[in-house]
């Protein structure tokens, strides 16, 4: 069955700490991978995406993610978080022959000033 698993439900960091959010997926085929962010009171926004090519992709606000095909992983990273990064983060997978976006359960990130 197709699924996405996010390793942490709730992460608490201090400002300037480094961030890594884990994401693993199960899908039998070519995939497109996404990270979405939902800031408090706002709609889901696309943070970054991987379609093909360089497995290290850079997104908005200093975020990056690395696609490791052999591990079925697409972890999100940021070297130094800010208080404004407090939000919920969702990893999602889209099969190349489907419009069905499959989400993980989300990780709530709380950054303390």
């Amino acid at each position: 069955a197709q699924s996405v698993s996010q390793h942490n439900h709730h992460v608490i960091l201090s400002e300037a700490a480094s961030l890594e959010l884990g994401c693993n997926y199960s899908y039998g085929g070519t995939v497109n991978l996404f990270w979405y962010v939902q800031y408090p009171g706002q709609h889901l926004q696309l943070l970054l995406k991987y379609f093909s090519g360089d497995p290290l992709v850079k997104g908005i606000k200093g975020f990056e993610a690395e696609f490791i095909k052999s591990k079925f992983s697409f972890n999100l990273r940021k070297p130094s978080v800010q208080w404004s990064d407090t939000a919920e983060y969702f990893c999602a997978v889209l099969g190349s022959n489907t419009g069905k976006l499959i989400f993980g359960q989300g990780t709530t990130l709380q950054v303390k000033p």
Partner: protein
């Protein structure tokens, strides 16, 4: 640049009733997908509309139905509401003419509460 707009913002219904939620896609987009997001969970795919037809469907019962209009806007209808239908319903739009795999842009959602 108009993003994805959904109406209403909040809705309260009772069990057994029917509800219609509405969505206008981002300007230039022709494909609309609907998702259900229960509290503390990630969104779950309900179905996708392209060229006024349901192109793909998730694991939701037939009580969930939809429609897409010639202007690409869409409606989600849910019949015989159950308590478990209480959730945030999200609409997302994308460019479908380029095939699957295009990034989807989300609206703010409609919060549906069933009493």
């Amino acid at each position: 640049d108009a993003g994805v707009t959904q109406s209403p913002t909040h809705l309260i219904k009772t069990r057994g009733q029917q509800v219609t939620l509405r969505c206008s896609p981002k300007s230039g987009h022709d494909t609309v997908s609907w998702y259900q997001q229960a509290l503390g969970q990630g969104p779950q795919f309900i179905f996708q509309y392209y060229e006024e037809e349901e192109r793909q469907r998730g694991n939701f019962p037939d009580r969930f139905s939809g429609h897409q209009f010639p202007n690409y806007s869409s409606e989600l209808n849910v019949n015989a509401l159950l308590l478990g239908d209480s959730a945030l319903y999200l609409c997302a739009s994308s460019l479908g003419g380029q095939g699957y795999g295009q990034p989807q842009h989300f609206g703010d959602g409609t919060r549906l509460s069933i009493l």
